[in-house]
């Protein structure tokens, strides 16, 4: 896909928003990201198709710039404003986070996100990053062997199932307690009845209103006669 170049940033960086501090943070994230990529050969292969492409994320509050550059199978992060990116995304932190963790790109304008450049590239970046599937079992098995890895895998899975079940039970219990025991919130049926009666009332008010209007107009006709 051919990239539409956004306006070239000024080569001067006296207004640079990023600093050594950001550089340190980016360095840590970059190392983690590349480490994760090295554990997922499939994604590494996919990301290579974006080699040479750069996505810039301008966060307006807090003010921050992040360039994500793909160099073959390596991802590089930087905060240099002089970088010429293929796609620029501007918005506040919460909207950007929402965009990065969900696939929903329908309400970008509503969320106050401005995109310049090649929008198709955003979808590609998103797809690849969200599909990151780290083959940690294979990596772990290289260090501790197959059988302990299988044991670790089973333990983590059963812990995950237990956590999910516990969370569901807890949610149900809290729901019951708030609705039935303390009566702090109305139940679903009560709410439904309430909304239905509100609807009926609205219809009756509407009918009354139209009847009043009709009576007023007939009264006005009688007076004029």
């Amino acid at each position: 896909m051919s990239a539409t170049k956004p306006p070239v940033a000024s080569p001067r960086f006296s207004n640079s928003v990023n600093s050594i501090f950001h550089s340190t943070i980016y360095s840590v994230i970059e190392t983690g990201l590349n480490q994760a990529l090295s554990l997922d050969p499939g994604t590494r292969k996919q990301i290579e198709s974006l080699s040479g492409k750069c996505m810039s994320i301008h966060c307006q509050s807090p003010r921050l710039l992040l360039n994500i550059l793909v160099c073959e199978q390596h991802i590089s992060l930087s905060g240099n404003e002089a970088f010429q990116s293929d796609i620029g995304i501007k918005g506040n932190a919460s909207a950007l986070m929402k965009l990065l963790v969900t696939r929903n790109t329908a309400n970008l304008k509503q969320d106050g996100i401005i995109i310049t450049g090649d929008v198709g590239l955003l979808t590609k970046f998103q797809k690849i990053l969200l599909n990151l599937d780290i083959d940690w079992e294979y990596q772990l098995s290289k260090f501790i062997g197959d059988i302990p890895t299988q044991f670790a895998h089973d333990s983590i899975n059963s812990a995950g199932r237990f956590a999910k079940k516990t969370r569901n039970n807890l949610e149900e219990d809290i729901d019951n307690y708030l609705h039935e025991e303390t009566r702090l919130f109305p139940s679903g049926t009560e709410l439904k009845d309430f909304y239905e009666s509100v609807d009926a009332l609205r219809l009756r008010v509407d009918r009354l209103n139209s009847r009043t209007g009709k009576l007023q107009s007939s009264l006005a006709d009688t007076i004029s006669d």
């Binding site: 340190t24 160099c71 073959e72």
Partner: protein, 254 residues
């Protein structure tokens, strides 16, 4: 003091030496410290040199396929950072005037298995042996202050930079805050002692301390870059001006 090639002497730390002697004297210093150079960097900068280098690389704005010259590249720290950025289609040239430093750098890079797009050369920064307009980026880190004729080096770097390319100069500089300057002066007096302890060569580190103090300040270096032909020259003070990163650009249409 004179850096002019016509002049008789130049500075070597606080000493005045004949112009033609300086390169050899600097060479001796780096032959001596080459093997423990990285360890001493960690000691002298308290480990911060890694972050500063990373920040400098960010300013290079390199993309896959570009050519970059790591001038005075020494032990190859920058080449290792540049290498993944330019990818297999790009090229990194590690150049240093000192054979011992290039050897240490080359061995280190090969040991890390990153030698694919990195080549090595012995080169004098004042007369770079490359075709003009070759490199998209030239980076010289902690090297310019050891060059005898700094202006000649900047001119040569300008010639080798491709139109639209940039030069990055990372070097010790003048602290902005006088109080910090004093504290830094006191701290740097410890370096020769640390050098003696760790490498058995205090004298070389005495030279490093002196050479840092004799190096031009931020504005002077910026003027020298403009004189060489670079445009949009700017500098970043790092850690209150203890180090500075100068960036200059070569106009795209020239």
């Amino acid at each position: 003091m004179s850096n002019d090639s016509q002049g008789k002497t130049t500075h070597f730390g606080y000493r005045q030496v004949a112009v033609e002697e300086k390169a050899d004297l600097v060479g001796e210093v780096f032959h001596s410290v080459a093997k423990k150079y990285d360890l001493m960097n960690d000691v002298m900068s308290l480990g911060t040199h890694r972050i500063i280098k990373r920040f400098t690389v960010e300013l290079s704005a390199l993309r896959p396929g570009m050519k970059v010259l790591d001038l005075a590249g020494g032990t190859g720290d920058f080449s290792l950072l540049f290498s993944p950025l330019v990818g297999s289609q790009g090229q990194v040239v590690l150049a240093d005037i000192n054979e011992s430093m290039v050897r240490v750098g080359r061995d280190r890079i090969i040991d890390k298995g990153k030698s694919g797009n990195i080549s090595y050369t012995l080169a004098n920064a004042e007369q770079l042996p490359f075709t003009a307009n070759t490199f998209d980026c030239i980076c010289i880190a902690y090297g310019l202050r050891n060059v005898t004729d700094k202006q000649a080096a900047l001119n040569s770097m300008f010639e080798m930079t491709a139109p639209g390319g940039r030069v990055l100069i990372l070097e010790f500089s003048k602290p902005v805050n006088p109080l910090l300057g004093k504290a830094y002066d006191v701290y740097s007096t410890l370096w020769p002692k640390a050098g003696q302890l760790l490498t058995g060569d205090g004298e070389s580190y005495q030279y490093l301390v002196e050479s840092i103090r004799m190096h031009p300040d931020q504005e002077t270096l910026k003027q020298m870059m403009l004189e060489a032909g670079f445009e949009n020259c700017e500098y970043h003070n790092v850690m209150g001006g203890i180090c500075a990163i100068h960036v200059g650009h070569k106009a795209a249409s020239r």
